[in-house]
């Protein structure tokens, strides 16, 4: 098929398409979808922390703000990564709150170690955390991947890594209301470890989930290259 024929074919297939909203607006919609399961799980499970005490703890407050900021910036960056021509500098934005998040958790580990010695850095499996984590994480994860699939797969690995970071961020934000106190090493190992694992998995699966091949195959045109 020559290019003129291809253009005629494509023009013949023109149907109205719904223009994608700006990334920040889509991120807001994503957050709106992610919050109900979070509220539901917290309502069923109950808040284990004493809120006035927690809110008086500066490190806890900074950590939660940084976690939420990481979630939001990662969500915006993930969605912006699928918009051709969007400023790529925005993709680095989550690194700032992520660094603050890591720093507060690191500072927490040091404080726990000073207060409790090696017992403060003891790593243990907390099964009670696992189910709420999955229940909170499923909806935002599925919603984000679905939203990314509506965009252009310009850098599928990076998009999914950012999506994993956004999802893990919101899960961590919720779980910290169940865990308060000397749990920094647990947060570091399980929550941020999970972010790392999700990111590696997402990075590996990126082209399969979000590649051009899927979009072009849906067109049912013979691929020229």
């Amino acid at each position: 098929m020559d290019t003129d024929q291809l253009i005629a074919e494509l023009a013949g297939r023109t149907e109205p398409v719904r223009r994608l909203r700006p990334p920040w607006m889509r991120a807001a919609i994503w957050l709106a979808l992610a919050i109900p399961p979070l509220i539901l799980v917290v309502a069923v499970h109950g808040i284990d922390v004493d809120l006035p005490t927690a809110l008086a703890d500066r490190r806890f407050v900074i950590e939660q703000i940084a976690t939420l900021a990481t979630t939001l910036t990662a969500a915006v960056a993930a969605l912006a990564s699928t918009v051709p021509g969007a400023n790529r500098k925005w993709l680095w934005l989550p690194l700032v709150p992520l660094a603050v998040w890591l720093a507060t958790v690191g500072a927490g580990c040091v404080a726990d170690w000073r207060a409790l010695g090696s017992a403060g850095l003891q790593l243990r499996w907390d099964g009670a955390c696992f189910l709420p984590m999955v229940l909170i994480g499923v909806v935002p994860a599925v919603a984000m991947v679905t939203m990314l699939r509506h965009g252009a797969p310009l850098s599928p690995r990076l998009s999914l890594v950012l999506a994993a970071l956004a999802t893990a961020g919101i899960v961590n934000f919720a779980l910290r209301f169940f865990h308060f106190g000397d749990v920094s090493v647990m947060v570091l190992a399980w929550h941020l470890g999970l972010v790392g694992l999700l990111s590696i998995g997402a990075g590996m699966l990126g082209p399969q989930f979000l590649g051009w091949g899927r979009l072009l195959a849906d067109l049912r045109f013979p691929r020229p290259v």
Binding site: L6, G12, R18, P84, G85, A86, A152, L215, F221
Partner: protein, 193 residues
């Protein structure tokens, strides 16, 4: 604010119309975009063959079609298009590198055949001097038949008129001359010239 046909970005305006389902605007947009892509590829990748560049143009147009919903009417069209061009070109370069990594360049393909070559009759004979000599040894009637029918490519009727020989005599003479030439010119191993 939705910018449409009155904006300073004519390609963006066409894309807005295309997003709304206007096929004529979409046709015009894709033709102009194809020219722009061709020029860009030629400037940035002068080593691409025309066929490879055209394949890439088509691949990019298909990609543009699949993600046309991502175009934001409030942003200029060309940076949007060029981001797709860069991305698809990089993909093509990666595919090309992978293909090259799997291939081994050889000067001559190590092919072997266990069958005798086919009897190709319309090849040009490789040694015209040997053919001329072989023709000169033929009887006059056979030589005339070959010269008129094979070398001058006359029809049987034309050759009959020119030589005064009957059509059937020309056929017989040609058959015998071909047989005689084959015996004279064919190498002894039977694998042709």
């Amino acid at each position: 604010m939705d910018m449409t046909a009155d904006r300073a970005d004519p390609l963006g305006a066409l894309m807005c119309l295309a997003q709304a389902g206007d096929s004529s605007a979409y046709d015009r947009l894709l033709r102009q975009a194809a020219d722009l892509i061709r020029r860009t590829l030629k400037r940035r990748y002068p080593f691409l063959t025309e066929a490879d560049a055209e394949d890439l143009v088509q691949d990019i147009l298909l990609s543009v079609h699949t993600v046309r919903a991502t175009y934001d009417a409030n942003r200029p069209f060309v940076p949007w298009l060029m981001a797709i061009v860069r991305n698809r070109t990089a993909d093509m370069a990666r595919r090309y590198s992978r293909r090259r990594a799997r291939e081994i360049a050889v000067e001559k393909y190590p092919e072997t055949f266990d069958e005798a070559p086919s009897n190709i009759t319309d090849e040009v004979y490789g040694d015209p001097e040997a053919l001329r000599q072989a023709l000169s040894t033929l009887p006059k009637g056979q030589r005339t038949a070959i010269e008129l029918l094979k070398l001058r490519e006359m029809s049987l009727k034309e050759a009959s008129k020119a030589s005064g020989m009957s059509v059937s005599a020309l056929k017989v003479a040609t058959h015998r001359a071909t047989h005689a030439l084959r015996l004279t010119l064919e190498p002894r191993d039977g694998y042709g010239h």
